[in-house]
């Protein structure tokens, strides 16, 4: 299943996420309702603390909303058990982060293989799946290298390969170019664009770079103070 009846891959309905900080209640995400269609490349734009990463984590199933509902392919994440949420993170979504989050003691190959281990994919099938993902990000020559032996751009591509290896339908990227120089960042975004077009994968990318969002995304959702303040389609 890639989309629901209304055509959305992921949909939030009046989602809120609040934290208690001392006596104050902080509303990181405040009553946000959005629908992201299948195969769409969406940029979540906003300044620091606007709630965009929190919303992305809610979509990823890394966090639970305080209220409201989040549907991924029609299933409400807010009502899922922690076991089902783990399955959602493993099979339905792939994630890339600003800090790459590769395990430093593992080689590139082992890092990319990790989601396959968690999904209990047969050993015989793993090598082929890893090679396929690594070739897609053009990193096949670096299979035996550890993250410390890779450049920033290569590390992010490795993280991208790891996110793709389990063939998810949704790719969630949290500031994927935040730690990269401009050219390398552009290369990563081109890669995301290529994946979106060739694989038809839904992409939600958190960024604070309006120019890049405008250049690569089909649609820009802007957040401020936890609220969705604009939802603009790109031409």
């Amino acid at each position: 299943m890639t989309e629901t009846i209304d055509g959305s891959a992921i949909r939030t309905e009046q989602v809120s996420r609040s934290y208690q900080m001392g006596d104050a209640l902080v509303r990181a995400v405040d009553d946000v309702s959005i629908a992201i269609r299948s195969k769409e490349f969406v940029a979540l734009l906003g300044s620091s603390g606007s709630g965009k990463s929190t919303l992305l984590n809610l979509m990823a199933g890394l966090d639970r909303p305080s209220s409201g509902a989040i549907f991924a392919h029609g299933r409400n994440l807010a009502e899922m058990s922690s076991e089902d949420l783990a399955q959602h993170r493993n099979h339905t979504v792939g994630m890339v982060f600003q800090a790459f989050n590769l395990l430093p003691r593992m080689t590139l190959e082992e890092n990319v293989e990790l989601p396959l281990r968690l999904a209990e994919v047969e050993r015989a099938d793993r090598a082929g799946r890893v090679r396929e993902a690594v070739e897609r990000v053009r990193l096949a020559a670096r299979l035996t290298h550890r993250p410390s032996e890779l450049s920033g751009g290569e590390q992010q591509r490795a993280a991208l390969a790891r996110a793709l290896v389990n063939r998810p339908t949704i790719l969630l990227a949290d500031e994927p170019t935040g730690n990269l120089d401009s050219a390398t960042g552009d290369a990563i975004l081109h890669l995301l664009q290529e994946i979106n077009e060739s694989l038809g994968m839904t992409i939600v990318m958190v960024t604070h770079d309006r120019d890049r969002a405008a250049r690569f995304a089909h649609r820009i959702l802007t957040m401020a103070d936890g609220k969705l303040i604009s939802d603009g389609m790109q031409s």
Partner: protein, 459 residues
């Protein structure tokens, strides 16, 4: 996650903090070693005691006496009727030998006498040794050999007696000695002459009552024996046999000598001198578990019996308590080691917080994280257990070695002070893994509950 992947990841994680994890594992190993060393000492001592006791031949034996004696030096009951009591004679011996589970039945033959060796007289005590003694361990490690047959004129010397005979006891093997003894010979039945030939009979006043059987004469005899062995301990052959003879000869030969013994005089008074009877018989059964049934059967035949079965039961109880106490003391070190595991794994959670977050982001369930930490604790327990058993064996061997050095200086035979049976190896490793897993419960559940968003933020 599959078990193989889990184990691989756990092994990889353990190798990452090699020094810390090695020290923790060493802590477990020391704990297991102390447990194994203590228990092996307990088991070793128990085996040693059991072996020594079984060598005494007392625990698979029933000692039988006639109810006339009420047995073993105790006074007769006022109501005892000597006349109605069954005699412990060759016929009774044969019947007892025919009972189920009875290996052999033999009388106690032990008498003080004198031997001639190289022209010199030596007073000593001679004991008849049954053929079964060869296999019951009493003669284990003896110099020379056991008797070559049941009715051979061969002798085994107890080491102290051998030292009396020669300053080089080993050189005695193969030499001959002459045994001088008093043989009991029956008198021909001469009722008319009985009253006058009272030299070896009861008093004339008793004889005049006319109800006494003929007595016997005592004739000095000599017989040559070849020394075939020298034994360190003094093997027991019957209930009265603690600290037995110093010169040992085959029981069958001893019986054929018809030695005059102390109870012969009593038999004259009872009028049973013409018919040989035994003071007591030793009945050897197949094993300690058969002692009770054989004892009951013999009692049913009208004889008094005695066995040391109850003594073995209480001995086993004492050793069970002893082992338990040693096990508890040994486990204390393992309990301390388990705190080390908790500490190491809690530290690992702090250090690997971000890694746990990444694993969760990639789809690891709480269960996977919990199992990963459990696997790490289990691997430490397994490795620590194996090392601990090896270390415990080494400690036990060192204690045995040290003890044997001391015993050798005291000119005593060596012993196995510690013993590590397979059940102890498996049990110690299993216990080590169980303790490690128990110690891993808290860290594992703490790691599993980590909030992935917070964990990913952790630098």
């Amino acid at each position: 996650m599959k078990a193989r992947d889990l184990t691989e990841l756990a092994g990889r994680n353990l190798r990452e903090a090699l020094l810390r994890n090695s020290l923790t594992t060493l802590g477990i190993a020391v704990g297991v070693a102390s447990l194994v060393a203590m228990l092996s000492l307990g088991v070793g001592l128990q085996q040693l005691a059991s072996k020594r006791l079984s060598r005494s031949g007392l625990f698979d034996a029933v000692f039988v006496s006639s109810r006339v004696n009420r047995g073993f030096g105790r006074p007769s009951r006022p109501d005892s009727t000597a006349g109605s009591a069954k005699a412990l004679d060759p016929e009774a011996r044969q019947k007892i030998a025919g009972l189920q589970d009875v290996v052999e039945v033999y009388p106690e033959i032990r008498f003080p006498t004198e031997i001639q060796f190289e022209g010199k007289p030596f007073p000593t005590t001679v004991a008849g040794i049954p053929s079964s003694a060869k296999t019951d361990g009493a003669f284990e490690g003896m110099k020379g050999a056991f008797f070559s047959g049941l009715d051979v004129d061969e002798a085994i010397l107890q080491i102290e007696f051998a030292k009396d005979l020669s300053t080089q006891p080993d050189s005695l093997i193969g030499k001959e000695l002459k045994l001088r003894y008093a043989e009991r010979q029956p008198l021909p039945p001469e009722p008319s002459a009985a009253k006058t030939k009272a030299g070896t009979r009861g008093s004339s006043s008793q004889a005049e009552q006319g109800d006494l059987s003929p007595g016997f004469s005592i004739v000095p005899h000599e017989k040559t024996f070849r020394i075939v062995g020298i034994v360190e301990t003094e093997p027991a052959t019957g209930f009265g046999g603690f600290g037995r003879g110093r010169l040992l000869i085959p029981l069958q030969v001893a019986e054929s000598l018809r030695i005059a013994q102390a109870n012969d005089l009593r038999e004259i008074l009872r009028g049973t001198a013409s018919k040989p009877s035994y003071d007591s018989l030793t009945v050897r059964v197949k094993g300690p578990s058969q002692v009770k049934s054989v004892e009951d059967a013999i009692q049913g035949m009208g004889f008094t019996t005695f066995s040391l079965l109850d003594a073995t039961k209480s001995l086993r109880q004492v050793f069970a308590v002893f082992d338990l106490l040693l096990g508890i003391f040994g486990s204390l070190a393992l309990a301390v080691a388990s705190l080390g595991i908790i500490n190491t794994l809690v530290m690992a959670i702090l250090e690997r917080r971000r890694e746990i977050g990444i694993l969760k982001a990639l789809g690891a369930a709480d269960r996977d994280i919990r199992r990963l930490f459990f696997a790490e604790a289990g691997v430490m327990g397994l490795v620590g257990g194996i090392l601990g058993v090896a270390l415990g064996w080494f400690i036990g061997s060192a204690l045995t070695f040290g003890t044997n050095v001391y015993l050798r200086r005291q000119e005593l035979p060596p012993i196995d002070l510690s013993s590590i049976p397979w059940w102890m190896v498996a049990g110690a490793i299993g216990f080590s893994i169980a303790v490690s897993l128990a110690a891993g419960i808290y860290p594992a559940s703490r790691a599993a509950k980590l909030n992935p968003v917070e964990a990913l933020r952790y630098e």
